[in-house]
């Protein structure tokens, strides 16, 4: 399930929706990204996330489909916020469930790595020295590329 929203989310309630009543779940992998107070050694007062409505939902749905194709998953949840956020605010949640822990953990890691470079969001940081757009990082490209040449890293891959 994909949710692109301005409002905050409740981690406990969202994760419960992935597991409650489904006794096939052996493992839940989860990642939550938050706004840090520091970037490039500058104090950040806010971060505004711009996105491409319509395309964002399509891209995230495509990422979910890719993860379900690579691993045997019971459920996938991606929540991504947009708008003005402050340090400590939640930005993104990725949750995956599977019968087995490796599939849940790896697919969660995969999804957040691909989100970084394939989801149409742009971040504008505000600090004492003004506003600046967050630049894409080579290390994020590398992390995303890591998943390109190998279907999965473990023996849990879908056959």
């Amino acid at each position: 399930m994909i949710k692109v929203q301005e409002q905050d989310f409740d981690i406990g309630a969202e994760l419960a929706s992935l597991t409650d009543g489904n006794t096939s779940v052996g493992g839940l992998g989860c990642f939550v990204g938050l706004v840090r107070d520091m970037a490039n050694e500058e104090q950040i007062s806010s971060m505004t996330l711009e996105h491409y409505p319509g395309m964002t939902e399509k891209q995230l749905a495509a990422l979910e489909a890719e993860a379900r194709d690579r691993w045997t998953l019971l459920d996938v949840l991606i929540i991504h916020r947009y708008g003005r956020l402050e340090p400590g605010d939640r930005i993104v949640l990725v949750g995956t469930t599977s019968a087995h822990r490796e599939a849940a953990l790896e697919s969660c890691h995969f999804l957040i790595d691909w989100l970084k470079t394939k989801a149409p969001f742009w971040k504008l940081e505000e600090s004492d020295t003004g506003e600046s757009w967050v630049a894409a990082r080579d290390s994020d490209d590398d992390a995303a590329d890591r998943w390109s040449d190998t279907a999965t890293q473990s023996e849990q891959k879908k056959v």
């Binding site: 711009e50 491409y52 395309m55």
Partner: protein, 83 residues
């Protein structure tokens, strides 16, 4: 043709969305971008380095050789920074 701009492409051009009618010889992304660069300093500055420009046609990522037509929604933006 619907044009959308995001991130610093938007702030340099000074607009997030506009409807334009490029001449008939503009049939692919590359020629569209060159044509846009003639529209003013903001466009010139935003689009000068094609290495840093990403393009979506009708919300699908494409490369510079992709074809464009007057009914398309075309978005130009910097590398994405989601997550």
């Amino acid at each position: 043709m619907q044009l959308l701009y995001f991130g610093w492409v938007r702030t340099k051009i000074g607009s997030g969305r506009e409807t334009l009618d490029p001449p008939a010889e503009i049939t692919d992304v590359r020629s569209l971008v060159e044509w846009l660069k003639q529209r003013g300093d903001g466009y010139q500055e935003a689009l000068q380095d094609l290495e840093t420009i990403r393009v979506a046609v009708n919300q699908e990522m494409v490369d510079l050789d992709a074809l464009v037509s007057p009914s398309d929604e075309i978005a130009l933006f910097p590398p994405m920074t989601g997550g």
